[in-house]
Symmetry: C2
Subunit: 333 residues, 2 copies
């Protein structure tokens, strides 16, 4: 029996979430029953999509429940086992985040082979965010030779992988991110044109200037003004992968839609939303390509780390203030 | 030498166009030179897309020029020929609309074989609007068995063909149009659920009610509130063919974009704009299918006709007031 701290959803945020929406609770986790293992989480992830699960509405994943622990990706270590499938010391990648300990049937968990990478990489570049970048750029936006690629939230966990895959494949890449530190990182990973969106008054004009021949692919993580600029500067037959719209998540009323969407008609633009869970069939191809790129030193990543389960809400809130560089993580043990 | 009246663009409309933006002019057309024919237009078409060409901006077709005759689809008859390729009495389908007579090189015009249809059908169901419906529904929206189809401006030249192709292929079709006369026409052509958008206060709620299992395909002719309702009611993996956004064409400032576009991410919706001119490769298939459907009595169409070149602006303006049922045409001779 162990004592575990967890973060519960105390109230549903309206507009920008705040610390008051979360509650730190302490629960008791019994010894694992027959067929179960007990896992101690080492790393957990916070991601923008979790904001959507805080709203009580039908969606592709069910909403978080009030008074229950939040869920999300985590890497943990088996600390007690009552099943031969997994033993003490085995690492597992699960969706039982936002808590320190949990029990689960051993057969429902998958042992993590890190291939020499730090385990938390499997919450970022080698995990869901990396696969999201891979799927969105190569399958949804159907990247093809000569495409000029525009990426928003380009220094984030997904965006920075999009930029690097596009560079590995020889494309001109324009990345937008807020602030000098992120811009420096984007330069470091080879992004051709960095836009500090916080420092420009007219994003469309700036995008037009750095992409005088237009853009062919837009990887949208933010929506809003970025999406409008991309529509304005897009070439005919451009493809937009709609991955997220973080600028819109915390608008309490109805957000503003792209006012120039009409351009999609005349320019024959395709905008396609996707969620990575529908594309797990690409996982083997992704793992093969990504492990190769990492081995060859072609893939760089950053982490922003908060420490302790009690700081998980802080880490989450920082996502919406743009206070993360690369993957936002919480180190639990 | 003949006298020809034509409609010139006098000024560029801001917001809703009005009669003052147009000028009726009389010009002299000389006898056709060697290699030329003289054509007397019998029918001309006015279409919503022409509104876009009245704005001076780069687009997929060049803008109309001030003080010059407007251009558009027309069916004419050769009245004088100075070339063996075409003779007096031959019908031709051209883009020399908004005028009564013109000369052109015979080799640049294509003789129209009507296959027994009234010639003006080639400005509608058997012409560009019909091909637009065919391309948008079958190629862009990639209609597949079981899809529930939602069509806006469903009683229009394009929308009514979309509805009928979908019904021929066995789909449940929901059509939105304004007013009882259009609704009766939609019932007549077999549309399963007719929405009179002018009579409902919450389009999304009504669409939800008539499509309790959601929609899979949306053929968008109007944008705005219809597009938002379609996003709200769409199923996962829905495909939207963006053909036009007539509700947005005459907004003087920035129009309102779909405020719920974020739904495209979670539902993996694809929105794709298109213009028919990029899909002429489907013309033979279209002509084969459409002629068969017409022959078998499966395709019905309506025309709203104004008479005389002087009434072409009136016909055009009526498009934006929804005063046309089916194809809006001008009979010139």
């Amino acid at each position: 029996m162990v004592t575990s701290r967890e973060i519960q959803l105390k109230s549903r945020p309206v507009g920008m979430p705040s610390a008051e929406n979360f509650e730190l609770a302490t629960v008791t986790v019994p010894d694992p029953a027959a067929g179960e293992v007990q896992v101690k989480n080492i790393w957990m992830t916070v991601d923008p999509y979790m904001r959507g699960r805080m709203v009580d509405r039908p969606s592709y994943v069910p909403p978080f429940q009030l008074g229950k622990p939040l869920q999300g990706g985590a890497i943990g270590e088996v600390v007690a086992s009552n099943d031969p499938v997994l033993g003490r010391g085995d690492l597992v990648s699960t969706m039982f985040g936002w808590r320190e300990f949990f029990n689960a049937p051993a057969g429902s968990l998958q042992k993590l082979d890190t291939f020499g990478l730090p385990p938390q990489a499997f919450l970022g570049v080698a995990g869901m965010p990396g696969l999201t970048a891979f799927v969105g750029l190569l399958k949804i936006a159907a990247l093809k030779p000569g495409d000029v690629v525009f990426v928003s939230a380009a220094a984030g966990a997904v965006g920075s992988v999009v930029c690097q895959i596009a560079k590995i494949k020889g494309h001109t890449v324009i990345g937008s991110a807020g602030g000098g530190e992120k811009g420096a990182f984007l330069k470091q990973i080879g992004v051709d044109h960095v836009i500090d969106y916080k420092a420009v008054s007219n994003l469309t004009e700036v995008l037009q200037r750095v992409a005088p021949n237009g853009i062919d692919v837009y990887f949208d993580n933010v929506g809003g003004e970025h999406l409008e600029a991309a529509l304005a500067v897009a070439n005919r037959f451009a493809r937009f992968a709609l991955c997220g719209m973080i600028s819109q998540y915390n608008v309490a009323g109805m957000p503003v839609g792209p006012r120039n969407l009409i351009l999609a008609v005349g320019k024959s633009i395709r905008l396609e939303g996707f969620i990575v869970a529908n594309h797990f069939n690409l996982l083997p191809e992704f793992q093969k390509d990504m492990s190769g790129w990492i081995r060859e030193g072609k893939m760089t990543w950053k982490e922003t780390v908060e420490h302790g389960i009690e700081n998980a809400p802080t880490a989450f809130l920082k996502l919406f203030k743009g206070e993360n560089l690369g993957k936002m993580l919480v180190k639990l043990a």
